[in-house]
């Protein structure tokens, strides 16, 4: 039985044929931070290429969708402790955001989204003159 094991390409991480399994979507974990100028979201999206990331902001709804290329879909796992699938998460943002200036970056599987506040809603220090 042991010699029926598949002979794979040279390393474990070599790309495999695309296999579409039953679509499972995971909700990624996020941290949200705010200061006077902006809201910043940090999310864990391992395995997502920046080109496969879709961020949509409309009327206070932020939708994040990350497509994950199938990995080890053709193998029989000896241990399987996690599943692999696309990531999806939505947030409602009550602050007035300058949607033109939204910026996002993806590094080592972590997504950072900057949502700058509109000038009008930023706190302003009022100078008191006497």
């Amino acid at each position: 039985m042991a010699n029926t094991l598949k002979k794979n390409t040279p390393s474990c991480s070599a790309p495999e044929a695309q296999v579409m399994k039953g679509a499972v979507t995971y909700s990624p974990r996020f941290d949200i931070w705010e200061d006077d100028d902006e809201l910043v979201l940090y999310g864990d999206l391992p395995g997502v290429e920046s080109g496969d990331l879709n961020i949509h902001f409309e009327q206070g709804d932020l939708k994040i969708y990350g497509k994950v290329a199938p990995r080890n879909a053709n193998v029989e796992l000896l241990y399987g402790e996690y599943g692999i699938g696309d990531f999806h998460r939505s947030f409602s943002v009550s602050e007035a955001i300058d949607s033109e200036k939204i910026a996002a970056e993806l590094k080592n599987g972590v997504l950072t989204v900057h949502l700058p506040k509109r000038e009008a809603v930023k706190p302003r220090r009022i100078e008191v003159t006497s």
Binding site: D31, E34, Y42
Partner: protein, 148 residues
């Protein structure tokens, strides 16, 4: 004077994380498809093999390669160590903190002897893949039966 004790991330935190994810998976998969994913320590690992090698994969977003350590002991024990550091921010407020930070260590008994000298690892998009070539003596061998 108020004493503020900083509590480093411990195993219990990661376990809770796993527990939460478990519940999530069950709800999402309707309690069916993903039941087979047994949860243990952090990080969750997937392990598979082909005739020449064992493959171990872990999702480690936000880790830097320099902060990861992979050790093979005695040809059959794999230890992973790592630290995830939080982005430094000044002022402001956190509205939500679902992600964990700190150090982990996990040891795994491998089902085959591997050649520690030839172990290689790749870290890409926050996914760590370790390739562990099997030792010759633990590879499956086809025995030719001669008819005399």
């Amino acid at each position: 004077m108020w004493g503020i004790r900083w509590q480093p991330l411990n195993v219990a935190d990661w376990s809770n994380w796993q527990h939460d994810m478990d519940r999530f998976f069950e709800r999402f998969a309707g309690g069916g498809a993903l039941r087979r994913f047994a949860q243990a320590a952090f990080p969750a690992l997937n392990l598979w093999e082909d005739s020449d090698r064992l493959c171990v994969e872990a999702e480690l977003p936000g880790f830097e390669l320099d902060d990861l350590e992979i050790v093979v002991t005695g040809g059959k024990r794999l230890t992973l160590k790592g630290t995830r550091k939080q982005a430094a921010v000044t002022g402001g407020v956190w509205h939500r903190q679902e992600r964990n930070f700190g150090s982990f260590e996990r040891t795994l008994e491998l089902p085959h002897d591997v050649d520690a000298e030839r172990v290689s690892a790749e870290f890409k998009l926050g996914v760590l893949t370790i390739t562990l070539p099997k030792r010759e003596e633990s590879k499956p061998r086809r025995i030719a039966v001669k008819i005399s």
